[in-house]
Symmetry: C2
Subunit: 652 residues, 2 copies
């Protein structure tokens, strides 16, 4: 069979690598061909059982499990799609069953522990410390048996025992119970001989009842739903320990790369809301399966999830129509935080589990921003602080103990490598930092995991532009400096100049990696959006004496960027480097904090009320501010007094 | 076709009359044959349209609607089963389609307004007055349109307008909304051009949102689920006005006459719980359809129901397993009052409507007793008051401002006419009161609606026994007085004596109506249960000086009984007649009050805590007390010092 003609593509997640199937080799070999190194002690001979992968789509087209797989993997897991990479291979004799339209049916998930660190999505974040005060608590009770002298009802007996056992409840506390759980209560109580563990939410509602003592098994999941990436953290709610983390590409990506495209998709046909909703709900459930199976946790003992995400992701996961977010005046359906039965959201945790969804501030400043505010604790800062969350969209927060203002800027996805000629995500082989010799213009670069370069990621791009400015290859207006165009590394393609970062023989692409004039424009637009947005939000605080004293950089990009260079190109204000902090996936940490401390949910509502939302693009001064910020570092050099290098760089 | 051989029975509800189909005459004629007079101005010629009936089962076997029916009845109502009694008749040509087992398929509901008063089930009750303070309130809002300057979310805009419009909400009030309703909100808001009416429950949760101003249309239904009869009251929650009342036999009756039989039915197979649950839920929905259609109210504008019923009815309607109520120590699943989405109970009111179910005190003292306590306001009485609710089961309440104790007694259904040789329910043709001439022993009786007698109902039975005592036909031990057995009206059948109340030619039965020795025993046991129960509950209050000063008689029987005779036979304590009050269907009135005043639901919880439940039958003294109370009026005449007639009545 000529497999190439079948045009069968296998997607490997979460690393977003695809391969066109050309042989029926085991998955292990396909990954080797893609240069994706995976953990295997026995080298693919089927004797160590370490190379477990999950076939998420198309498992019916694989050969039946081998004896090696049966030895290392439970039948339940095999049925679910877990296989050994070194054993499982596509059964080409079954491929004739595949319809043409199903060519993208194959999706294989590589668990974090399988990957040799190269491809991990940023899941960590600066944890400023948190008191454990979860909504969910478990109590082990030995309930008295009823008698003719004490014929109290089952529910009331349990409540009485609970009040006797725990100081969390006053004698007059009014507890209630999930109505459908009440139906099971008499049986659970009698079958467990009156020794049960009950799960209480918000000191108020019994949401589960389990036989015996299961107090230790108290779990929640914090989800951060990005436009591109979904991350889930499995957390023990008793002690705050993270048991497992997994991430996945947001499957909605298939229907549109950014939120605007997805909003249009829904506007065209309201049924499409269900498609996007199912896509992300499946992602959440898959992540749940992975982290629960990794940590050997029963999903029925996950009682709560917390969710952050931008406003469109927020609406879609809730099944709320986000159309009006895409139409002026960009109105969400609801802003305040919500507690929704996970059953209503089709999330497969405990039967009567609850999802907490953090509030959204506006159509373009979402629950993820609330997450950043909560985890960065910007509201405790004395100094006026700028927090920037750089994802597919950019959010700007300016605040301290007294004030809080937020806005959103269409930074585009340039900083994630999209629309950049040699752009790529921050993965192995990406140029992530570089220096240019100002005499020779030679480039000294580093790549993630020291692989031969195959592209350039966001932090590399910022370095490239900063270094090209310092080397006077670029003028402050972002044009190539005509005085230097005879240099070997500056070439002209399609009437525009390009600068060679890595020469043909240095790369794994068989061609050079360059920065084009268009790449420069993309970066200019992104950094101008951030800087002008920051200026306009600052102005809106109405006190011209206010100055930004501190910067938090959040998000994957914010974490890996060279902040001195971000400042050099004029993306962020000119303040001392010691006051610029990289705080990682602050939105995800915010979701974790909401899960672990229920008081932060009240804090979130306070922040929602306090935050002044600035619609940056409708401000009268926007056009002028944005145009001026297109210059490196700015039209007005007085705003960047410490960047003395610019004295010698041409403006045009 | 020989219809008699087909054995086709038609049930007429709510009057519980059956007819064996012998002709294909219209329903009107069948009712005439049964001597059920119905309202008809034109006398059955099809020109007045007044004789509307609802065919609840078997409508497909009737002839198609005639032109007269099409003239008076909407197509929708015709489809639903509404017909004119003078037109609709069974189409015998379709009967071959009927399977043998379906002989009881025919059920026809006669609306209250059709019946000429004879058959009405007691639905009224003494209303002690109530402040209107319902859980459900409606608010008409003109919501501001969003703008770029004020891009608040839909939900938050509505809440802000609500706070501006109504003083019911403080500026800091935290409202929420039914999650699924949130999905519809953006559309309703825009399609109604921002003029909407919202429905708020407990000043807290938005449960409906309607276009335009619908504030006036704010309804609830109060249900009283008896073992035998279900009653529903459609009430406007703004003003407390009852718009319509309907009652139905409890369809569970098909599976067992009393609660013990139904408990056994469930114990034998847990699936049977679903059968009984569906039966009563259908009854509630049918009543809802009838009262809504009577009052021309859209069921989607019924937002709340309140339910009272004994503990077994309470459990079954909630779908809770009542098995343990039937096993010592008779433990319910839950006691406290519940608020349950009507959707979870399959009740067809507003999509996000809520059912309030009053608390149950014990396995045998249910939510109906709480209803009696609330509507009788026994907790406000200065004097110690006895309240007796006489239904298929009997509940005894003793209380005042300070104390409250309750118990249940197995009074049996003798007082409803069951297990009595000529017993019948209180319907037309029932002997409901009588006097015996102490010289001639001639009987002077009255019947309901002055029909020729066809049986004797509860109040008639009490009168009969009291009069037979006063005439010395009975001794105080309940035996026929041997000195009088030669009288014409005392006959011997099957070795036991009977007393003729109505002679053969006086009745419509073609035979005499008598009171048998067994009938006397049934009454003795019932009255002994009430009296001994009252004694034991009184004793349990622990203060021997406490004396009952006042009596409330509740329930249908309690309402129609001659209270002097009830006292004479020793069913209730010997207090002055002016202190004995008949309070009607107090349980149903309690349900209405809970619907109209939400504070009474807290009161109900207080009463649940306050009420001392006495398990009468396990008391050590029970056997003695019961045996002594079997005497008329009691073994110890000192307990009934005012009944001087007993001086001349033999004890044995």
């Amino acid at each position: 069979m000529d497999l190439k003609n079948k045009n069968i593509i296998i997607d490997f997640e979460p690393i977003s690598r695809r391969v066109l199937l050309s042989s029926d080799k085991p998955i292990y070999d396909l990954l080797s061909e893609l240069s994706v190194p995976i953990r295997s002690i026995c080298g693919g001979s089927g004797t160590c059982g370490k190379c477990r992968v999950l076939i998420q789509s198309g498992k019916e087209y694989f050969i039946l499990p081998t004896s090696a797989e049966k030895e290392f993997i439970d039948q339940g897991d095999l049925d679910y799609g877990w296989r050994l990479a070194c054993q499982a291979r596509i059964d080409t004799s079954k491929l004739h069953l595949l319809e043409k339209t199903e060519s993208s049916k194959f999706r294989i998930f590589l668990p974090n522990e399988l990957l040799l660190e190269d491809f991990k999505i940023l899941t960590g974040g600066l944890n400023k410390g948190i008191n454990i005060f979860p909504a969910i608590k478990k109590y082990y009770l030995k309930v008295d048996k009823p008698s003719l002298e004490d014929p109290q009802a089952d529910f009331e007996r349990i409540i009485e025992e609970l009040k006797d056992t725990s100081k969390d409840f006053s004698k007059n506390a009014q507890l209630d119970i999930q109505f459908d759980l009440l139906k099971d209560l008499p049986n659970i109580l009698r079958e467990s001989k009156n020794e049960i563990t009950i799960v209480v939410r918000n000191n108020k509602t019994i949401i589960a009842c389990e036989p015996g003592n299961t107090v230790e098994d108290n779990f929640g999941i914090a989800y951060d739903i990005g436009t591109t990436t979904v991350v889930g953290y499995l957390i023990n709610l008793n002690n705050g320990r993270i048991y497992a983390v997994a991430s996945n590409l947001n499957s909605q990506t298939a229907y549109g790369e950014d939120v605007i495209t997805r909003l249009t998709f829904i506007k065209n046909d309201k049924e499409n809301l269900n498609i996007l909703n199912s896509a992300v709900v499946n992602d959440l459930n898959e992540i749940q399966n992975i982290i629960c199976s990794k940590a050997n946790v029963d999903p029925s003992q996950v009682y709560e999830v917390s969710i952050v995400g931008n406003s469109v992701m927020h609406h879609i996961v809730l099944g709320l129509d986000p159309t009006n977010i895409g139409l002026s005046p960009f109105v969400p359906v609801i802003q305040r935080g919500l507690n929704v039965p996970t059953k209503s959201l089709n999330l497969n945790i405990s039967k009567y589990g609850v999802a907490y969804i953090a509030p959204v501030i506006s159509g373009f400043v979402g629950a993820d921003t609330i997450g950043v505010i909560l985890s960065s604790k910007i509201y405790n800062e004395k100094d006026l602080t700028l927090a920037i969350d750089i994802g597919t969209n950019g959010e700007i927060i300016i605040g301290n103990r007294k004030v809080l203002a937020v806005g959103s800027c269409a930074a585009g996805s340039a900083l994630e490598g999209a629309h950049i000629s040699n752009g790529m995500r921050a993965a192995a082989g990406a140029i992530d930092s570089l220096k240019i010799n100002q005499e020779t213009l030679d480039v000294n670069f580093s790549t993630i995991k020291d692989k031969k370069p195959m592209g350039i990621c966001g932090s590399g791009l910022v370095d490239a532009v900063a270094e090209m400015l310092k080397s006077k290859i670029l003028t402050r207006s972002g044009n190539f400096n005509k005085e230097l165009i005879n240099q070997e590394r500056i070439i002209k393609n399609d009437k525009a100049f390009e600068f060679i970062i890595a020469k043909k023989d240095e790369t794994s692409l068989g061609k050079e990696i360059t920065i084009t004039q268009n790449d420069i424009r993309q970066i200019q637009m992104a950094k101008a959006a951030f800087y002008s947005g920051t200026r306009l939000i600052l102005k809106s605080l109405g006190n011209s004496k206010l100055k930004i004293k501190q910067i938090f950089l959040a998000g994957a990009f914010g974490n890996y960027i060279n902040s001195a260079n971000a400042k050099f190109i004029g993306m962020i204000p000119d303040i001392a480097g010691e006051n610029i902090h990289q705080i990682g996936n602050a939105a995800g940490v915010g979701a974790q904090h909401c899960l672990l401390n229920v008081e932060l949910r009240n804090k979130a509502e306070q922040m929602l009320k306090k935050a002044k939302y600035i619609e940056i693009a409708v401000k009268e001064e926007f056009q002028k501010e944005y145009a001026e910020a297109m210059y490196f570092p700015h039209h007005n050099l007085d705003y960047f007094p410490n960047l003395s290098e610019y004295k010698n760089i041409r403006k045009r």
